[in-house]
């Protein structure tokens, strides 16, 4: 046993040392070095003062963070971002989970068509439906306000919740529900007493993923937001595309704050979701 174990280990070590392996890890390392350069240059710039034709800025300061917080009215922007994303998460879970339940459990005429319908908003670039949607929302007076931004962001979020929740629902044994029904529970009671507790991990995972997506969703918010309903991404975009008016470093500082926020969200998400497993389970159902 021990001898076979050592030969196996030796063979594995030799596998790693292949030239192809070195090439692959080299490419990965090159990608990371450049990625670190991209992130690092923004980070250094956001703390730097007077950085022109040198390797590093001449002096370091933290004044850009305070300045961008004040200049861009970031507190207001963050409040809007929070409001929009929490509303989107809440509504898409309330609408999406029951639909996911029916789609996962039942077969009925038109099920495949409905599934395709829910798949489309995820398969289409946001701009393609965003522009007609924004036109319609303007027509009915929603766009330019918080409600328009929330409605637009719900379009990809509801299908996303449905697709993420389906595998979680399929894991629950239908016998549990049948037993509850035998004991006289109605559909609503089954949902509240049985499905909701069992689905909590799935709902959390879906909520956090929707949260990350909504905070990062640029196009739909950009097309429907008014001056006082911008989220952080859109405010960032406006501050950068109107370059020259503000110091570049304060935009860098704002971008760093945005990324830090997204990173926190993602780390929380990764605690609940194994990204690789999630996709694999979803795929089985999509096919």
């Amino acid at each position: 046993m021990t001898s076979s174990g050592t030969t196996l280990a030796r063979r594995r070590r030799r596998l790693v040392a292949r030239p192809a392996a070195w090439l692959i890890w080299g490419v990965v390392a090159f990608f990371f070095v450049n990625l670190a350069g991209v992130i690092g240059s923004v980070l250094v710039s956001s703390f730097g003062n007077r950085w022109f034709d040198t390797w590093f800025p001449q002096e370091f300061t933290t004044k850009w963070y305070g300045q961008s917080w004040q200049e861009f009215g970031l507190f207001q922007v963050l409040v809007v971002t929070l409001e929009v994303s929490l509303l989107v998460v809440g509504i898409s879970v309330l609408v999406g989970v029951p639909a996911a339940y029916v789609l996962a459990r039942r077969s009925f005429p038109g099920r495949r068509l409905l599934y395709l319908l829910f798949l489309l908003p995820i398969l289409m670039p946001p701009i393609t439906y965003g522009i007609p949607l924004a036109t319609v929302l303007y027509k009915y007076g929603f766009a330019g306000h918080l409600s328009g931004v929330v409605l637009a962001n719900l379009v990809p979020s509801v299908p996303f919740v449905i697709l993420t929740m389906t595998p979680f629902i399929e894991q629950i044994d239908p016998a549990v529900e049948r037993a509850a029904r035998m004991c006289g529970a109605g559909t609503r009671q089954i949902f509240v007493r049985i499905l909701a507790p069992l689905l909590t991990p799935g709902i959390l995972a879906a909520s956090i993923l929707v949260l990350v997506r909504t905070v990062g969703m640029f196009e739909l918010t950009f097309l429907t937001a008014g001056p006082d309903s911008q989220t952080l991404v859109v405010a960032l975009y406006y501050s950068m595309s109107a370059a020259g008016i503000r110091a570049q470093q304060s935009i860098d500082a704002m971008a760093v704050m945005y990324t830090a926020m997204m990173l926190v969200l993602l780390v929380i998400a990764l605690r609940f979701v194994n990204p690789t497993q999630l996709v694999a389970r979803v795929r089985e159902d999509v096919d």
Binding site: A20, V38, F52, A99, V102, P125, D252, T259, P275, T276
Partner: protein, 314 residues
């Protein structure tokens, strides 16, 4: 729970009333046999949602695209295809998104193949690979401008090493946008490919190895066919991401020239020229081109590997 659910055991003396309740129950049973009952009502909110917020606006847009300010119903489409500045945006977008999506998928396969087994630092490496998802367009754009710009660290290194005499121009042109797509798209593609690869039973490869297949034969004959549907899906999703590139084409690109992608044209038509029929036309064409590519990829996959995808998954 409600009146329709209670069985017709009522002391209703009228015979026709009883028979009416009876047929209603019979209809309910017949529908239930085909899978239709009141539980499907749970679908209604989501279906209404999609109809009101996706199908209706999309149909409205399609309708709008056939009602240009002047000319017949197809005038906006004719204008799009006769105006080279508009028509070429399709080609510009495809030239950016197809190679970027291909590169992301192609690069993910060997890296994910290496990362299948267990080794030290796997979790760390996965986390590091996921980080670029959080960057956001603006930080990527600022970073690329800072890092790859003429006085950035990249060109500085090249000059210091002596690989080049003049700074290479990598921003505000095609390459800036290309890199930004790769940075945002690669982690996504990698996670998907890794998960598909992890779903393939390693014993299949071990069995092939016992029969004397070398690593290339094992990859070519076993892993690749089983991975093909996953790769097609990954390509489609990465392509959608790359195809809708909008902010970075403006921020790190050359939005009036080499990186004037179709979404910029659509945005210009809607919010700069206020020509909503034209904007709707461009949006419809954008969706069509994108769906055509996806249909081609999925169709090609179905043509090649229908047999192999059916079984064999562990």
């Amino acid at each position: 729970m409600s009146a329709t659910a209670t069985p017709p055991r009522t002391d209703d003396p009228a015979p026709d009333g009883r028979s009416r309740v009876g047929t209603r129950v019979a209809l309910r049973h017949r529908l239930a046999e085909r899978g239709i009952d009141r539980q499907l009502l749970l679908l209604v909110p989501a279906a209404v949602f999609i109809l009101v917020l996706f199908i209706y606006p999309f149909g409205y847009g399609v309708g709008l695209s056939f009602q240009p300010a002047e000319g017949g119903p197809f005038a906006a489409y004719q204008e799009f295809f006769s105006d080279a500045y508009l028509r070429d945006t399709i080609w510009t977008t495809l030239k950016l998104s197809l190679p970027a999506a291909l590169l992301n998928v192609a690069a993910s396969v060997p890296i994910a193949y290496r990362m299948r087994g267990r080794f030290r630092g796997k979790r760390l490496l996965t986390t590091v690979l996921v980080v670029p998802i959080t960057l956001g367009t603006v930080l990527t754009a600022q970073g690329l401008l800072n890092f790859l710009g003429p006085t950035g660290w990249f060109n500085r290194t090249l000059l210091a090493v002596g690989l080049t005499d003049d700074p290479i121009r990598l921003t505000n042109n095609y390459w800036g946008v290309f890199f930004s797509i790769v940075i945002t798209g690669f982690p996504f593609a990698f996670l998907l490919v890794l998960s598909y690869l992890s779903g393939i039973d390693p014993t299949l490869e071990r069995a092939a190895a016992t029969l004397g297949a070398n690593w290339w034969q094992r990859f070519r004959r076993i892993t690749l066919p089983l991975l093909a549907p996953g790769l097609a899906t990954t390509f489609c999703l990465t392509f959608v991401l790359a195809f809708s590139v909008f902010p970075s084409a403006i921020l790190v690109g050359d939005p009036a020239g080499t990186t004037r992608v179709i979404s910029i044209a659509a945005y210009d038509a809607a919010y700069v020229q206020y020509d909503y029929p034209m904007a709707a036309t461009i949006a419809v064409l954008m969706g069509l081109v994108e769906l055509l590519v996806i249909a081609a990829v999925l169709g090609w996959r179905a043509l090649l590997y229908t047999g192999a995808t059916a079984g064999g998954k562990g």
